[in-house]
């Protein structure tokens, strides 16, 4: 699974930056074609949902997806499936 | 022949029901036309209540009562408010025990309330006695029609009492 931000919907409020427990979202710096500074992803493979959703068969965490007022955050299947290298942080 | 009949009394005597029963008798059982109207509003509750019926052999166009030719008056206040200005050629049936005044027109005194209280044992059927008297005194509808209309309109279990009251009214009206 891969975390994606739909830049055609994102309005740049950065609520995802505020709530992600893993610090995956960072405030962006560049204006996109719609005149919005969308957040950028920092090592999204750390997202627990990306890694473990298939294993648990349900959404894990998902707070960014729920709080995103603009329905811009979702996960997409990656094909072909490639297991991510996991960095465990303490 | 157009007849305009006005009923008045006090609230609780069944004045409006009397008008509805008469209209029903004419419209459903005598093959005539009838329009029934009444006074609504707060003044009709405590004070004088009034209901009217227009009966005609032809369809009734103008539906309001302009100049009643028949009155049925069951209270002094009803007389003062709705009966005192009756035309000379009108006919008035008065509950003799409840109305002190008398009109300038032809007047039949019907002791409906005392009959209802006394011989019939239920004051509540005084209006039916009055209707009976009205029918035989004026012939505005037939006896058969009014009997059926009364039976349609009274609560279940009171049919016999009401028919008795109606018959007593017929007698009083014939004598008047």
């Amino acid at each position: 699974m891969k975390l994606v931000i739909d830049e055609s919907r994102c309005k740049g409020c950065n609520l995802c930056v505020l709530v992600c427990p893993y610090g995956i979202f960072r405030e962006g710096t560049e204006l996109n074609s719609r005149g919005i500074v969308a957040p950028v992803l920092d090592r999204p493979e750390r997202c627990t949902n990306c890694r473990l959703q298939a294993l648990y068969g349900r959404m894990l965490c998902g707070v960014c997806h729920m709080i995103c007022p603009d329905q811009a955050i979702s996960w997409v299947e990656e094909k072909p499936f490639e297991p991510h290298r996991v960095e465990v942080e303490f | 022949m157009r007849h305009e009949i006005r009923f008045s009394g006090y609230g609780g005597q069944g004045i409006i029901l009397s008008a509805v029963i008469l209209g029903r008798a004419a419209a459903l059982y005598d093959n005539k036309y009838a329009v029934q109207t009444q006074v609504y509003g707060p003044e009709a509750r405590g004070g004088a209540s009034m209901g009217q019926v227009v009966i005609d052999d032809e369809p009734i166009l103008y539906p309001e009562v302009a100049r009643p030719d028949i009155y049925v008056i069951m209270s002094q206040q009803g007389f003062e408010k709705y009966g005192a200005r009756a035309g000379e050629d009108a006919v008035m049936l008065i509950d003799a025990d409840l109305v002190r005044s008398r009109p300038g027109c032809r007047c039949y005194e019907i002791p409906a309330t005392s009959e209802a209280k006394g011989a019939l044992g239920r004051e509540i059927v005084a209006n039916i006695v009055m209707i009976g008297a009205l029918v035989t005194a004026t012939g505005v509808v037939s006896r058969e029609a009014i009997e059926r209309a009364v039976l349609d309109s009274v609560p279940k279990g009171t049919e016999e009492l009401n028919l008795k009251a109606l018959k007593r009214g017929f007698e009083l009206g014939e004598r008047a």
Binding site: - | G23, L28, Y33, A34, Q36, T37, V39, Y62, P63, E64
Partner: protein
């Protein structure tokens, strides 16, 4: 088979609604319409319908519109003060093309006025009362039998044209009792369903979109905002608004020959009464009492959309006389369609014009 009853106008209206398949009534008590709500409260639950006494008239018409969108035939009944309260949502029903029936048993106004007396003072309000431009249908019965028959008709017109349809009766007809014949069944015409592949607010030649009530699986978005054929708000484009509002007006106005319901007596007459509702009965009385071919009568059973072509059916008319139970409302519509003098005969206070009053006016204008 049918049954004959001696019944009040308001009760006959409720019977008409039940016969037409009305299965939802939302209302609020108000004199002189209350007997309609009372009859519906008694009868609807036994007919598998819903009666609900709402917290006010605004809520009543709102609930009726909500129920109508589930596909139920729905109705409310009120009188002047409640009708005024309903105005905003009546505009909503017009904008969203919601078929529903609103009965107004008119009483004397303005304000609380004469609760127990008759008037026809809401005839312009029912045409123009809500803000913005729209067109609706207003029906004016003059007898208890018509309270039944025309209530049935109101539902059919509401469904066919997808407009709020008014039964503009009054205290006289609402409260009087007369003989009424109630058929066992009446023919009813429901709205044309939304065709497969059609957009929910796209209309063909008749300018009336097909109807997809909630639950049809069409995911219809209904909004009072200016919307496109998909039903989506489009509130700033002048063309979108122009197209929608012109269609809403035209779907009724262009069908007015089809909708029209009137009676003509003595088309060769020179003096012509134009009436609707109970004053028509006084005119009929005058014409029976004074038979005269030079007196004509145009009696409207449907006032809005106004059938101006009916006035042309009196080619010899020299004057039109219009008795109304108001200070002269629909008379303005007559005036703008004819060249002859039009005399308003207003009467307010709650009583019907007497035959003698109309005879006096008749003599003054011949």
């Amino acid at each position: 088979m049918s049954r004959t009853e001696f019944m009040q106008g308001n009760a006959a209206c409720a019977e008409g609604a039940l016969a037409a398949g009305c299965r939802f009534f939302g209302g609020y008590p108000i004199t002189p319409s209350t007997e309609i709500a009372e009859t519906m409260a008694r009868r609807l639950p036994k007919a598998g319908g819903v009666f609900i006494s709402m917290e006010d008239e605004i809520a009543s018409i709102a609930a009726v519109i909500g129920a109508a969108w589930t596909g139920a035939r729905a109705m409310t009944a009120t009188s002047g003060p409640g009708f005024s309260l309903m105005m905003e949502n009546i505009g909503y029903a017009a904008m969203t093309e919601t078929p529903c029936v609103i009965v107004n048993i008119q009483r004397g106004g303005p304000s609380t006025g004469q609760p127990t007396r008759a008037a026809q003072g809401d005839m312009l309000q029912c045409r123009f009362g809500s803000h913005g431009d729209y067109s609706t249908i207003a029906i004016t019965p003059n007898s208890v039998q018509e309270m039944f028959d025309l209530t049935v008709k109101a539902f059919d017109l509401a469904d066919r044209f997808r407009v709020p349809t008014f039964l503009m009766s009054d205290e006289i007809v609402g409260h009087m009792r007369e003989r009424v014949t109630i058929p066992d069944a009446v023919d009813i015409q429901r709205p044309r369903p939304l065709a497969e592949g059609s957009l929910p607010f796209a209309a063909g030649e008749d300018k009336i979109p097909g109807f997809a009530p909630f639950g049809s699986g069409r995911a219809v978005h209904v909004t009072g905002l200016t919307h496109d054929e998909r039903g989506y708000p489009d509130t700033t484009d002048p063309e979108a608004h122009d197209k929608l509002v012109r269609r809403l007006v035209a779907k009724v106005e262009s069908a007015r020959r089809d909708i029209a319901d009137y009676e003509i007596v003595n088309p060769g007459a020179e003096t012509v009464f134009v009436t609707y509702g109970p004053p028509s009965r006084t005119v009929e009385q005058v014409m029976r009492d004074h038979p005269d071919d030079s007196i004509g009568h145009l009696r409207l059973r449907i006032v809005w959309p106004f059938p101006e072509f009916a006035l042309k059916e009196f080619p010899n008319a020299k004057v039109f006389l219009m008795p109304e139970l108001n200070m002269g409302q629909v008379v303005r519509e007559v005036q703008r369609h004819v060249d002859q003098p039009v005399v308003s005969i207003p009467k307010i206070g709650g009583e019907l014009h007497t035959p003698a009053e109309l005879v006096r006016v008749l003599e003054a204008h011949r």
